[in-house]
């Protein structure tokens, strides 16, 4: 049962609260609240509302990297001019994310912390080659996002660590990234499958390819076979077909309430083709 509620305004206070143990981090609360109400998530003795912690908002270029604060809301991803210009794939993902109300509350850090295989910023972040910055009272470390998730709702984050920032390499000339998700209902639905593809497109050829899938495995995953089928290739019909086949072959989804394994693999095939067509268009 919750005994304490803290709303620190500085990072140090927040990290101290986490160091004391048995604390639950609340950012937007859009996962924490419904999940704990439904009995699927047990709250710790201390609730740490991090919303007021300064310095974890918004995006900025820092050297060769773009820094995205963990408290950046999904609405900001969608509307922020800097993000729209430098990382439009995040705005694309945010546009199909939940509802306006949820987008106003939900944060990037929360989407990562929740570690759902269907989390809609995770697939774009994977193809952006994101790195997660974690801080605790003991110090700071960085983990690659594609090594961060260990299962549904599970990550390598230790309980005393806070996700503070996400870093992605600043896009190089010719860099294109696109994302598509599919849920049964056109709005306000959790992804049954999602696909993100990024690469450098030059003279009709794609290189430095990264492919990622959502909701087809216990975590969001990279699509190595599809990446191999695409690397250095001309984005023509034959390449699209080969990549789609490779994608369909490499995913091992399960059947659950949202879709059967068969449908998910079918959809990975079709969505990879669709997203590649978008990538080819730039």
């Amino acid at each position: 049962m919750v005994e304490r509620y803290l709303a620190p305004t500085t990072l140090d206070e927040a990290l101290k609260a986490l160091a004391a143990g048995d604390a639950t981090i609340v950012a937007g609360g859009t996962d924490v609240m419904p999940q704990s109400q439904a009995g699927r998530f047990k709250l710790g003795r201390t609730l740490v509302n991090i919303r007021r912690v300064a310095g974890l908002q918004g995006g900025a270029k820092e050297g060769d990297e773009i820094r995205l604060g963990a408290l950046t809301t999904i609405s900001q991803l969608r509307e922020d001019a800097f993000i729209a210009k430098t990382l439009p794939v995040l705005a694309e993902a945010a546009d199909h994310f939940a509802s306006v109300q949820i987008r106003n509350m939900g944060t990037l850090g929360g989407n990562i912390g929740n570690a759902s295989p269907a989390g809609d910023t995770l697939v774009p972040l994977l193809v952006l080659d994101a790195v997660v910055e974690l801080r605790s009272a003991k110090g700071m470390r960085r983990l690659r996002l594609d090594e961060f998730f260990t299962g549904p709702g599970k990550t390598k984050r230790t309980p005393d660590e806070l996700i503070t920032n996400i870093f992605v390499p600043a896009p190089k000339p010719g860099f294109v990234a696109r994302f598509a998700k599919f849920g049964t209902r056109p709005a306000l639905d959790i992804s049954a499958v999602s696909v993100g593809i990024a690469g450098i497109v030059k003279d009709g050829k794609i290189s430095n390819v990264r492919v990622a899938y959502g909701a087809v495995a216990p975590t969001p995953v990279r699509g190595r076979a599809a990446e191999a089928a695409l690397e250095g290739k001309t984005l023509d019909a034959a390449t699209l077909a080969a990549a789609a086949k490779a994608a369909q072959g490499e995913v091992k989804p399960i059947s659950d309430r949202r879709a059967t394994a068969w449908y998910r693999r079918e959809m990975i095939h079709n969505l990879v083709k669709k997203v590649l067509a978008d990538v080819a268009h730039g």
Partner: protein, 761 residues
């Protein structure tokens, strides 16, 4: 008739308080000393309750009562099948069944107390699949009874001869799933016992008198010791009629603690205890001649009642035979079986069993029309029943607007031109579909009375009060009654107040079900207003020295038709009605019981004073890569006899169209091990604005002779054609026929694959 009020699109009389957030719903009510209730539900679909220990919960500070099945009256309640107690005793028959309840000084404490109730269960084999219910070794949902709730067998004419005379015989099996009513206001009740032991219950209900009867039975106390008051209702759709259980728990707790108790469902609790529509598997075989005449119709139904019977037998009867009446059929046969399962009880839902059959029938007619090279509109027209005719089951039609409905939606969607355009061949393919259906307005079924009584008072200021037990649950009943009354009395709409239904003060009524309130309640209002008007004009005649038949009321003033200076304001006349020797305030009463006939044992009769019709045409676009269906256009015509309020009718028609989209495409109850797995609006996906195309709603006024000013019911009929129209449009678009609802993207892709592979799914 040229009325300034009836037939005008006026905002509902409840609109202002609702948009200001000042309407008082049950969950807003507070009383001194009020306690909060929470309910503990069984986690297993089927389990014996071995032991319950409530001692820890009772000991929690702030807890005032903990009750279990053993505490509840032993008298069983139920619509026709008396089989439930207020809380489960002996065993739980579905996951989510109420086993214990707590009243405490706060909702949080009540919830915490639930965690302290210890219950030991012995799990029993659960019957989850209705198809297994009638097997000899199937688990018994009700010990000592087989799992058949009801069987219906109807046969008229000669079905085999009908098939022999047909040029085309088609048969198919359809799977029709269960839908949650999805009203905005989850169930809520406040119950309180006064110093004399009388119980007052404020609740969200479609019928205060049926609620009172249910409470009296379940609490085993006299009807007259209970007062039920309807608070503002935030939607019902059938779920708040006679099968509702949480109001019983709240009232029972109030009798135990002698303090007011409020029980408000959250959304999950409402999913767990709400009333879902009756799912069924429906096999249909029809014969048709080359010109589209239906020669025979043969139906077999296996319907799932869930753990208790409730209204499901009545619902299944509607599925089994109602649609037969919209066409001129002679040879029909129905064999329908309703079975228990260890799942939540199912029952009344907008359309009352009509949607299930409308889906099968219209899917069938579309397929058969295609095979015969006919247009489905023509098939409906060729078979449509007409005013003055009697249907195969004895229903007599004073009015039918079916043909006009068909004409309007066919023109409205641009059917002819769009059907001629070449088929799309790209990723996205468009298609057109239509469907038509009928419903009752009224139903002589709850006993040999389908009447409605209205008590009308006209006060000293010339303004009117209507007391009626019929219920406004958002659909606009109060507005309809106020409009008819204002129109007849010649006063502004704002001068009519419809009092909330209250069993202590309202005349007895059945309430909002079977689309009966406009045709029967509206007629009673009209008759009461006519009587009041006669009294007013008689009094004015004395006052003005003119004969009563020379007088009329216009905008609140009584005036002579012939003498221009003979006028009296209504307040003056109404005061005069009182302040004279032997006078009294104007108080009249009228009862309208329609000239209908109950069905006999063979299901033959003329159950409703009017029958309403609807047709819908839709255009869809199917994405052949994702299987997603998008509605591009919808055109829905509802024959409501006469639109007393076109704005309210449009609201009902559009709402019905959206609810049908939800049933057809998105809403999908899911279970894991017999437990509801998606009892929330994130996972039970109702349509959002993005799923809804521009909706055209048109009104057909067929002028029902039995109805007030020609009116019949509107709203239930309009939900019937949506799902089959969508399924028909999908087949038109991509050549895939879906017979199992909901039509998920996955089924579309699977259908496309089967088509590619030559029909081998």
């Amino acid at each position: 008739m040229n009325s300034p009020i009836v037939g005008k699109a006026v905002p509902q009389v409840t609109a202002l308080e609702k948009i200001q957030g000042r309407a008082i719903y049950t969950g807003d009510l507070k009383q001194p000393g009020m306690l909060h209730a929470k309910v503990l539900r069984g986690p297993y679909p089927h389990a014996r309750i071995v032991r319950i220990d409530t001692s820890q919960a009772v000991a929690l500070p702030g807890v005032k009562a903990v009750v279990t099945g053993a505490d509840t009256p032993t008298r069983l309640w139920g619509v026709a099948h008396k089989q439930q107690r207020i809380l489960a005793t002996g065993k739980v028959r579905f996951a989510g069944e109420e086993v214990a309840a707590v009243a405490a000084i706060s909702e949080d404490i009540a919830r915490d107390a639930l965690d302290l109730i210890e219950i030991e269960y012995e799990e029993l084999p659960a019957l989850l699949d209705p198809a297994r219910a009638l097997e000899a070794e199937a688990p018994q949902v009700h010990d000592g009874h087989d799992n058949r709730v009801k069987e219906i067998r109807i046969a008229r004419g000669d079905v085999e001869a009908g098939f022999a005379a047909a040029d085309l015989v088609h048969e198919a099996t359809y799977e029709l799933h269960s839908q949650y009513p999805g009203y905005m206001e989850p169930m809520a009740t406040l119950a309180s016992v006064d110093g004399n032991g009388r119980l007052t219950v404020w609740t969200s209900t479609q019928s205060v008198f049926l609620a009172r009867a249910r409470l009296a039975e379940a609490l085993d106390r006299p009807v007259s010791s209970i007062r039920v008051i309807q608070a503002m209702v935030g939607g019902g759709f059938g779920g708040k009629i006679v099968e509702e259980r949480s109001s019983l728990i709240a009232a029972f707790l109030a009798t135990r603690v002698n303090r007011p108790v409020r029980l408000v469902n959250n959304r999950l609790e409402d999913f767990q205890s709400g009333c879902f529509s009756v799912p069924c598997r429906l096999w249909l075989k029809m014969g048709m001649t080359k010109d589209g005449t239906i020669t025979a119709k043969d139906v077999r139904i296996l319907a799932n009642s869930g753990a208790y019977a409730g209204l499901a037998p009545e619902v299944m009867l509607v599925t089994a035979m109602r649609s037969d009446n919209m066409h001129r059929l002679e040879n029909v046969r129905s064999a329908a079986d309703l079975v228990y399962t260890n799942t939540m009880p199912r029952g009344a839902f907008r359309g009352f069993g009509g949607t299930q059959m409308a889906f099968a029938l219209n899917s069938h007619l579309s397929v058969m029309a295609d095979k015969l090279g006919l247009d489905p509109f023509e098939v409906h027209r060729r078979n449509a029943i007409r005013a003055g005719e009697t249907s195969v089951h004895g229903w007599q039609f004073g009015s039918t607007g079916l043909r006009e409905c068909l004409d309007q939606v066919q023109a409205g969607i641009g059917w002819e031109a769009k059907r001629r355009r070449p088929k799309d061949t790209g990723v996205r393919q468009r298609g057109l579909g239509m469907a038509a259906a009928m419903h009752v307005s009224g139903n002589r079924t709850l006993g040999n009375w389908d009447g409605s009584t209205v008590v009308l008072r006209v006060n000293e200021d010339g303004r009117a009060f209507i007391a009626s037990g019929e219920s406004d649950m958002g659909q606009g009943a109060n507005t309809m009654m106020a409009q008819i009354c204002a129109d007849e009395l010649g006063i502004p709409l704002s001068h009519v107040t419809v009092l909330p239904p209250d069993t202590d003060t309202s005349p007895f009524a059945l309430g909002s079900l079977a689309s009966r309130v406009t045709i029967n309640g509206g007629k009673a209002v009209l008759q009461a207003a006519q009587q009041a008007k006669t009294q007013i004009l008689d009094a004015a005649s004395g006052l003005l020295g003119c004969p009563a038949d020379d007088l009329e009321i216009d905008q609140g003033v009584v005036r002579s038709r012939t003498k221009s200076n003979a006028t009296a304001a209504l307040p003056q006349v109404c005061r005069y009605h009182v302040f004279r020797h032997g006078g009294e305030g104007i108080l009249v009463r009228a009862t309208y019981d329609p000239p209908t006939k109950m069905m006999d044992a063979d299901h033959y009769g003329n159950i409703a004073p009017g029958y309403s019709f609807a047709a819908q045409a839709v255009e869809v676009e199917v994405d052949t890569e994702t299987g997603q269906v998008t509605l591009l256009n919808s055109c829905l015509a509802d024959d409501c006899g006469k639109a007393i309020n076109p704005m309210a009718v449009h609201g009902q028609t559009n709402g019905a169209a959206v609810q049908a989209i939800g049933w057809a495409l998105y809403e999908h109850l899911q279970f894991e091990d017999g437990r509801l797995a998606n009892g929330n609006f994130a996972d039970y996906t109702m349509p959002t604005a993005d799923s809804v195309p521009h909706l055209q709603a048109s009104i057909v006024e067929s002028n029902e002779p039995n109805g007030p000013l020609g009116a019949k019911g509107a709203s239930e009929t309009a939900i019937l054609p949506g799902a089959p129209a969508i399924a028909n449009a999908i087949e038109d678009a991509i050549g895939v026929r879906i017979t199992e609802l909901p039509i998920t993207p996955e089924k579309i892709l699977a259908g496309l694959r089967a088509k590619r592979e030559g029909g081998h799914a």
